[in-house]
Symmetry: C2
Subunit: 516 residues, 2 copies
């Protein structure tokens, strides 16, 4: 059947118990009971949870065939944890494992082979890149991968849709009881926001660190009361790949032009007032928008109330200049950000539930004024794709994109009209990761289009003298330059299910045929 | 039947589903599934949770006859919240309410009348004083009150034994979304540790504040993601009764002598070494022990690793002098303590689960070296009573007493042999709140007795030249001076059930006969 946004959801997927997407906010107000983990009471005193080896911890957790394990991705491309744990699991002869990660990338290429071997038979993630995406797109994973936004992942765990048997949490520092922090140590990643829900809802929790510190390691991101075992290893990550030294500010004139237009669009709306809230992605033009916003703030005597999201240097600079009141931080992309969090008195770590869970009693994104996001593709219904590449292969991350887009009063997508010879603006995106009803404004290098649902913004931008065009005309222009893209050679088989924030099915990803 | 410590548990209590106490640590390692609250997904953006009145919030919560509501006691004798909420509930004609509070005191005397009227038919608490204790002891509450330690309360809530329908959380500051803090405002109480479990496990959560602050109110003790409604009132408490200006250090020579002996006992044990951990109650001699410990620390070049518990000025002073590494704080008894928490970089707020829940994966008390506690009575089996007065009426608080006693490697009770004409050391305490197997040393003004279970401590104290006597000889001395106490005129009816930390029944409290 077709879901609310006209995507065909096969019966085979509905038969798994999934509902089709029914529109933005369709599950607002739904009541449910949160699930709890199965835990062992530690009533008697004992001194330490440190185990002699990772293998010992895995064995003590009772990890067996068919279980679900989880990981966070705060170490990004520098992560050693996933491979370290999976190597032990494989060596123990355990198979049929589902990995429920907050994101998976090229650092985890060795897992691709374990998928082919049946050691890993399920993947649930908010991002997927490298060889894992490749083998899944080519039909090697036994079950369809389940793709969720960051907020959707928390919702799924808290509601019990995903039950984590064992969470493996890499931590830059931990004490012998498992009080763990994102700060400090050899592999500083600033915060452990993604892992917080895992610690609270997994039956067993293993903290893996390369820097054991004195008890109590406070304030903890992961609380000892939720941790079963602590494992100390030589290295949990490669610091050079965890965080870049500093955000590279784009010098590309096209990016700068789009960034300036984003700032102009923001300033033209009713939401641009003293105390607005703001989020940007870490992409070039999104980041550069900060540069153009700053003089507008100064000129108007405005201050940003709070900045949220994955944090980068420009946000930290605005905080240090007193142009932002508070940063609430769910991920650090660069060294200035991870140095600032917990150090600057108004730069705080938050959980991903606080950030963007659509099923709690009100996440930060619900009060967000502006977000600037990127897109691999955007279609004439304003649907955005950030998961499948132009070849139809999984190589992206919904991450917090659908969450921030749904929450923000004004959601901007910034993207060049073309990437190489591929139109970004198109008739129909390969995969919908963020529904068009959540997108308000598209800024491209060939013009600005406002979603027709937002006639209020059309008026406000027009009043401010910003020239607007239709998204159809942008698509037209793209196709004129590059030609209409050829349809991708998909097979019928569903290899991945793209969940909406609320757990319904937004779209499916099908197997891509091998090149003949 | 008799439980492990020889207390008669009536069949009527066992018939309610309770198990008799089976000894310290009997439930260690027991597996259970944590319960979750029933919540309403807030997927759609909205700006504020502030309601026009407390009544509106109560009505929106759907509060009806027979429900369980909860409160915290961080405002102590200055609390206005319980009476404010109960007055509205009574005015709405709602009845048969169970109050599950972290403690109840004289500030809540008006509730006594509601018990007689059947508006309140259940009480679950970790402390009970004033008229509420009186009417319960005289058989006016419809169901037996359930008394738990602070850790036992968290355990009961997390395991689902107590299900809170609506938590009412008084907060010194809150923003419009319910991010609430113990710090700041007109009724500063420092921390909101007791309320944290309520916020996470109650179906509905109402934050009541007299100081609404800008969003986001960070770092929050209570997270907005768990809060349904915010109510702003004129005053939530009386600051003069919330915290004393400064801890009154006793000048009583008897108290000082006992305090000095406590410090000597500590210094004589193997646990007195660099980096030990420490807790004291807020009573006179317990507090004064800090004064005598300090020179011993300096002399040995030792530093206390961490201090935990209800915090008072002496702990803050040791922190400021660099003689303590970290304070982890679950309650503030005086102004210096509540000023220090969140301000001194090593003075942290913790949840009551982190402090002392016996059913999580390892609370702080599990790693505690020393605790000095008080007692209303202690018997020759070292069982302690801190709940019933010498007249058999409920007027005390187990609080964290049983938790710290069970966790600490060395648990000291400090108490005068007699209070007026009443022996403190006796043959059999009226009510057991902390089992004798958790008590190691009794320090009185007439001598020091070590629990015979701890021959290691007998040796260490003897080696240090501390004169020891038996607890029987102390009882003998007390009875010689004051005479053996007359048995109290109890009826058969059980008016309160004293749970052990693990939820089994340690003892029961019976109705006291009216004076003829």
């Amino acid at each position: 059947m077709q879901n609310k946004i006209g995507r065909e959801i096969p019966e085979s997927v509905l038969a798994l118990g999934f509902e089709p997407y029914q529109g933005e906010g369709a599950k607002d107000g739904v009541e449910y009971r949160k699930q709890g983990p199965r835990v062992r009471a530690c009533e008697k005193p004992f001194e330490s949870k440190v185990q002699s080896s990772l293998r010992e911890a895995i064995v003590k957790c009772g990890l067996t065939d068919g279980m679900t394990i989880s990981f966070h991705h705060h170490f990004r491309d520098g992560d050693y944890i996933v491979n370290m744990v999976m190597t032990e699991i494989a060596a123990l002869g355990i198979k049929d494992i589902t990995i429920a990660a907050s994101s998976l990338g090229t650092a985890h290429d060795p897992v691709a082979e374990m998928i082919e071997q049946g050691i890993v038979t399920g993947i649930q993630t908010s991002g997927i890149r490298g060889k894992i995406g490749d083998v899944i797109s080519h039909g090697k994973l036994k079950t369809p991968a389940i793709l969720r936004s960051h907020g959707g992942r928390v919702r799924a765990i808290e509601s019990g849709e995903v039950h984590i048997d064992v969470a493996f949490i890499g931590a830059p520092t931990s004490d012998c009881y498992g009080n763990a922090r994102g700060k400090g140590g050899k592999s500083d990643c600033g915060v452990l926001s993604y892992a917080m829900v895992d610690a609270k809802y997994a039956d067993k929790v293993v903290v893996i660190t390369d820097t054991l510190v004195d008890f109590p390691n406070f304030p903890p991101s992961i609380e000892a009361i939720d941790v079963d075992y602590v494992v100390v290893v030589d290295e949990i990550g490669n610091p050079n790949k965890i965080a870049s030294q500093a955000a590279r500010m784009t010098q590309d004139p096209r990016d700068l032009m789009m960034a300036e237009m984003c700032a102009k669009v923001i300033a033209a709306t009713e939401y641009f007032r003293d105390g607005f809230s703001f989020q940007t992605g870490a992409g070039g033009p999104s980041l550069a928008a900060n540069r153009f916003l700053e003089p507008m703030l100064v000129k108007n005597g405005y201050k940003i109330s709070w900045i949220i999201g994955g944090i980068t240097q420009p946000a930290v600079e605005l905080l240090n200049k007193g142009l932002v009141g508070t940063i609430v931080d769910a991920q650090d992309f660069d060294v200035p950000s991870l140095k600032s969090v917990h150090e600057h008195p108004r730069h705080f770590e938050i959980s991903t539930s606080q950030y963007c869970n659509p099923a709690n009693k009100g996440a930060f994104v619900n009060k967000l004024d502006f977000v600037i996001l990127a897109a691999l593709e955007i279609d004439t219904d304003f649907n955005v794709n950030v998961i499948t590449g132009s070849d139809g292969v999984l190589r992206g991350a919904p991450g917090g994109h659908p969450d921030a887009a749904a929450g923000a009063k004004c959601t901007l997508i910034v993207a060049p009209l073309l990437r190489g010879r591929m139109p970004t603006v198109c008739e129909r995106v390969v995969t919908v990761t963020t529904p068009g009803e959540c997108i308000d404004v598209l800024v491209t290098d060939y013009g600005v289009a406002v979603n027709p649902r937002r006639q209020d913004l059309v008026e406000q931008l027009t009043r401010a003298g910003i020239p607007l065009c239709t998204i159809e005309s942008l698509k037209q222009k793209a196709y004129e330059i590059a030609g209409a893209p050829d349809p991708l050679p998909f097979d019928d088989r569903v290899v991945a299910i793209m969940e909406a924030r609320d757990g319904t099915v937004l779209d499916v990803v099908r197997e891509i045929k091998p090149i003949a």
